[in-house]
Each structure stands twice: as C-alpha cells, then as structure tokens.
Point group: C3
Chain length 224, copies 3
C-alpha cells in the first residue's frame, strides 16, 4: 500500500538516481585510495546497495532488491565508468555531488522506513531501518576502504541526524494515518534541507563530556 | 521448549543486562576513538546486538530479535547516555565493567546455543552459533572502529575459550537430555568464572610454532 | 537439477578441497599478523566460508551450507592445525598454495553461479553471486585482519576477472541450455588457467585516468 504513494516508475527513477550519487561517492573514495578499476566498481556497488541489502536481509525481503533488479546493479557500474574517465572533473564538482548525496540521503531514509513498515516491523524499528538504508552503504564503503567510517567521526558534519528526522516524519505520518505523496515528499525534503544546512554551517554532534586529556585528543586527530 | 527453562521475564531481564554491559564496552571504545555522540550510539548498538543479529540471520529468525523488541534497541542508547555524561567515572570502574562483560559472555553463549538448537541446527553448529552470539558483537565493534579485533590478538586474555566451554556444556546437556534451569545456570557460571580467571591470570592462547623472525614480531607488536 | 552435473560426492570433495586451500590463506595471514591460534581458526573459517555464507543469506538458502555440513566447518580447523605446526614449511610452498587457491577460485565461482540460479536469481545476478562466492571470503578475511582488501588493490594480480569469466561461461551455458559436466569443467578450468596466467605475467587492472598527482600516488603506495 505505502509503496503506491509515488507512481512505481517515478519511485524507481528516484531510487536509481539515489543509487547513482551514492555510487559516485564510493568510486571517488576508491580513486583517492588508489584502487584499480575493479576496486572502484566494488566500492561503488557496496556504497550504493549495501544499506538496502542489509535492510532487506533483516526484514526478510529475500532476495534483496539489489539482486532482483538489473538496473540497481548496472547503475553503480555506470557511475564507475564516469569516475574512471572523468575523475578530475567529478572531483571539481564535489559540492554538486554533495548536494545530490543529500538528496539520496533523504530519499533512502524515507524509502527504507516505508519498506520496513510494509514488511511488518514496528514504527521505531522501521525508522531505524530507514536510517540503516540511508547510511549503511557509506559505513560499509569506509570499512572496505579500511577507514574509520565518516558517519561516526566527530569532525564530520551531521549526516545521520537528517536521516533520523526524515525517517521520523514518515513514522509519525504512518502513526497518524497521514502518509500521502505530499507528506512523503515533505519528509524527503526536510532530510535533504537539514543535510544541506549541516554542510553549510558545519553542524556537528558533541563528543562525550570530560574526555580524559587534550593529549589523547590531539593524538587521535592526527590519524587520517 | 528450551527457552522455557528460565521464566520468560527472568530471561528477558538477563538479556537486557548482557546487552547493557556489551553496549558500555562499545561506547567506551567510541570515546577512546574520539567519535561523536552519534558514533557512540552506533558502536554501542553494534556491540550489543551484532552477535545476536548475525545468529538470527543465519538460523532464519527473521526479523532478528534486535529489531522486534524495543527494549533491545533502547538499552544500548541508555548505556550511551551513561558513558556520554559520566565517561571518566565509567572508565574508573573498568574492572567492574569487565566482570559484567564476563557475565554477558556467559549469558550470550548459552542463550545463543539454545536458540540455534531450537531453530534446528545440529549440536556442533549450535555451539558455533553460541560462540558467534557471544563474540560477534565485539568483532563488529572493532571492525567499525578500524582496529584489529581484540578477539584474535595474541596479547589479549582468553575470551572465546570460556564461551566455547559454556556453549559446549549446553550442547552436552542437550545431547544427554539433561538441560534444566540448573545445568543452564551452571554453563553460564562456568563460562563466567573461566573468563574471570583468564583475566586474573592473563591466560593467553599460543601463536603458531616457529614464526619466522623476532623482527617481524616486534614490528607487528608496535602497531596499536 | 544443475547440482547433479557432478556426482554429489565428487562435488562435495571438490568443495572441501576449495575450502581447505582458502582456509590456508586465511591462517597464513593470521600468522603474519601475529594472531593467536584462535585468531588463526577464526580467519581460516571466515576466509573459507564467508563468500558462500553471504551468497546463501542473499538467495535465502537458510541456514547457509556452512552451518549444516559439519565437514565445511571442520576443514578450516584442519587447515589451521597444519599452519599452526608447519607454518614455515607452508610459507615455503606458497607458490603451490597459490595454484590451489586458483583452483578454489575456479571451483567456487562456478558452484556459486549454479546454486544462485537454482534458487531463482536471474543469469546476471547468478554471475554476481558466483563472483561473490569466490572472492567474498578473501574480502572478509582482509577486513577482519584490518587490511585494505587485496581484491581492490591496484598492485595485485587480477583475481576477480578470472572468476567473472568462469561465472560468465556458466551463465552462457545455462542460457543456451548447454550446461553439462563437460562445460562446467571447462568453466572451472578457464577461470583456473586465467588466474594462473594473471599471476605468471602480473596482469593488473588499470586505475582511473588522470589521477591528480604523482605525490598522492606515492604516499598511498607507501602504506602497507
């Protein structure tokens, strides 16, 4: 039912767009880490499809959507080809890429929440699944690239909070039976705008109170 | 059947206690790695629920318990809040935390073994699942934090062996149809005490015979 | 149907042989990273069974084969024992180990493709699953060992391409209804020989065009 809010083809094209921009971020990191073209494709696929695949395994949507729809698999390969041939140009429009990534974040947190709810999870857990759909691929990307996930780093602008807010709006709308195409679009837009603002004003989350010493902190900050 | 050995509510409270102490260890590592409060929550959730979620995916308990019981999800957030505000105090009682962690280890290896057996796995594989339940979260915690899992490091006190013994006692009891509340408690207690002894006397597992050179070893030991 | 191409017992022994050589590579890396004997066993199990377990979770073969067949679980332990006692000798025959690893690669990409197709995936996705079966364990091995996966490193000989070719031959044979014991054997052999040639002549995949500067590259190459 919930999946009918957008017409299926619009939903599908939005999904592919989100997958494409997530894949770009994976392929760019692969170039920075000096991986070969195959490593770029692997990282692009994992970044774009990892979050949704984790969600589908958890909610029992077997096989996961990434393995049933050929478009989901081929889109990251197209992103890989683009970055392979035009890497400096893509780097140069990094800020545009970030805007699209924010759009992907909004899209995925909302789509993940509704899909999890359709599969019978509770509202809170559907929110968590929406968050996992949106940020899971990026965490897997960083793990495979052997980096500390940028999601958990204190010196990165807020990324998860916009997704939580977007997923939360959807959950509230479901609870009050107010989920329509309009409210769904509003949830996506809210997450999108929040992420843009977080990047613009460098909003960050606090760290634990009374951490032991400035020395420890300085040492940790030096690590890449 | 097996799950009835403890009354459901006792079992549930024990589960939550184990989840809480595992989450504390995740949140503490996040503070040491200088993650922000959101990274603390992510690491706490993964540490506390990762092992059980892996087990549930493998045995086909879909959706995993971590995504159906709200208490399982909220407990690590409570642990995160505690560490966020009282981090130095929690660090100071690290040895008490370690004792609780040992209790969690005993609890989880036994609960994991019985649940896997209930879902139709063989006795040996149920033991393996009990072990995975107990140690899986810690391995995922270290992977996300970009560290070598402390489970596999030679310079850490035995952690897996107590869990294997606890799971093995449960498997033997099932085989001889002797699994009662008493024997279950005994299995938990054995794993708990073995882990305490391993920490007290720094029991460690051997490394491969005839490793190539002391130079290689020294170089590796220096890495954090 | 497809699984009947080889007699079940031949297929089973080939599987165990592939698992054994993959486990050897995991145990050897564990020794180089200075893990204890338990860490060796963990890394051997993950390397040998990780790819197939991921495939089985995705295609819905629950519980995964690794958790139903005791031989699959015990074989990596035998490999661990061998490396534990005879590590210098096994290192000395590293090139022989590499040949067996290439055979395992051929075997696993073909077996993974046919199993995924049997479970209803499309031909392209069955190929992807064949690739994941063959290379997934190695990627998980490197992640647990806290290394950049050798699969994605530009300075490693081609590993995935032979697996893709082998899986592709199987997919083509299924499409043209030409999958027999002979063509299956040919697919395995092709992947095997391609991997041997890649090692012999150091075939490598290209990196992105116009990477930014030689300085970046040099810096990255220095990291282990």
């Amino acid at each position: 039912m919930l999946q009918e809010l957008f017409s299926p083809s619009v939903q599908h094209w939005l999904d592919l767009a989100g997958i494409f921009v997530f894949a770009i971020s994976g392929a760019l990191l692969a170039v920075r880490k000096n991986f070969d073209v195959f490593g770029m494709a692997v990282l692009a696929e994992i970044t774009a499809l990892g979050g949704g695949t984790f969600r589908d395994l958890v909610i029992g949507a077997i096989p996961p959507a990434a393995f049933t729809d050929l478009g989901y698999f081929l889109t990251p390969l197209a992103a890989t080809a683009l970055v392979f041939f035009l890497h400096p140009q893509v780097e140069r429009i990094q800020s545009a890429v970030n805007v699209f990534d924010a759009a992907g974040l909004g899209l995925f947190c909302v789509a993940g929440t509704t899909k999890a709810y359709d599969y019978g999870l509770g509202l809170t857990m559907s929110m968590v699944m929406g968050l996992a759909t949106a940020v899971g691929g990026g965490v897997l990307r960083d793990i495979v690239a052997n980096e500390v996930p940028s999601l958990v780093r204190w010196d990165r602008d807020l990324y998860a909070v916009p997704a939580v807010v977007g997923a939360g709006i959807v959950a509230l709308c479901i609870h009050y039976e107010a989920l329509t195409g309009v409210t769904t679009g509003l949830a996506i837009l809210t997450a999108f705008v929040l992420r843009l603002l977080a990047m613009r004003y460098h909003w960050r989350a606090p760290r634990a109170w009374h951490r032991r010493s400035a020395a420890v902190e300085a040492a940790t900050e030096e690590t890449p």
